[in-house]
Symmetry: C2
Subunit: 202 residues, 2 copies
């Protein structure tokens, strides 16, 4: 199937927001999504953006048959408690989608090696998998990074997601948690606020 | 001991570069450091910087006695193969340091929660540990992040570094690798170049 990978524009944020929710539904955690397409517009399309994004687009003749069909991935039951999800369903167009995947990434920095790029999300709608779109998106992130002199492309994968882990490792990625024992830590909510209040006065 | 935490200036890059090397020596991997202070200047102090940095400074009366003393952390034997290290030793001032720690961080993005901050390095020179400087630096990163509406402060820790892991967890951090099974993956070198070449043509 022919597809195109291009840099996302501000106008794509509703589509990206829809696919972020689809991915969360697939992971049975739609309630966890707190970002709106307005947040994505503000954070990705103003000076000093927090992220960049690529989208994969298919020609009109391949667009999805029903705008809401992709939202059944995780089973309708998982949608019950998500008012955000219901709201989004109502405002979707009904004539199908041509934007069928996205890769969201940002630049990071290694004090040993320098510039790096981190891929936060990689998603392709279920009906469009196995056609090279995921690899195309990921390879484009790598290319964009290399053009910016990044020497690493990094990302995180859940260990139960064995097919994805195997796929990335077959492509040449190193699993640094398995190899070197890196653990990923996070302060958030109350622990983040408490820590911030310990900052020394200027 | 009185200390001050402040945003790094371009002029601090030689000091930051020195401490990056000290940390690598402590980890027995000085040969892994490929960044120079010129790289740090270019990547952190131009439009759209790849990172931000805080430094901890002590008053003149507390400065280190010998500029090179801190470089013995990992044992002189580890320095043998590092010409970069030897070069740096030669260009160090001999009247001690007042910049005794740093925290290097950058902004990242969660598609579920929005803006986040990631702390790449946190380092305090051995003679200045146990005085609250590390907590001060980390708390300041949290404060800077919260002021930018970041909802997470994230970082990675090696699992053999149990004292650090315990310290962060006691402060309220969650270990997401232990709790949710997140693995950290990386393409670099040949695997990154090969992947980048798979990018679909525009």
């Amino acid at each position: 199937m022919h597809f195109k990978v291009r840099a996302a524009a501000k106008e794509d944020c509703k589509e990206i927001s829809r696919m972020i929710m689809e991915l969360a539904v697939y992971e049975n955690m739609p309630d966890q999504v707190k970002t709106s397409h307005e947040d994505l517009e503000r954070d990705g399309f103003s000076p000093n953006p927090f992220y960049e994004c690529l989208v994969a687009e298919v020609p009109d003749e391949h667009k999805t048959k029903d705008a809401s069909s992709s939202l059944c991935v995780g089973g309708q039951d998982t949608l019950g408690s998500s008012t955000r999800q219901v709201k989004r369903l109502k405002c979707c167009p009904n004539d199908g989608y041509t934007v069928v995947g996205y890769a969201l990434y940002f630049y990071t920095y290694s004090t040993w090696k320098g510039r790096s790029v981190y891929m936060e999300d990689l998603y392709v709608m279920p009906d469009f998998r196995g056609k090279g779109i995921g690899t195309g998106l990921m390879a484009k992130v790598a290319q964009v990074g290399v053009e910016k002199q990044c020497v690493r492309l990094q990302f995180s994968v859940l260990e139960w997601n064995k097919p994805s882990l195997d796929f990335y490792i077959a492509k040449g990625a190193e699993d640094l948690t398995a190899k070197e024992g890196w653990h990923f830590l996070r302060f958030h909510g109350q622990s983040l606020d408490t820590l911030a209040k310990e900052a020394p006065k200027d």
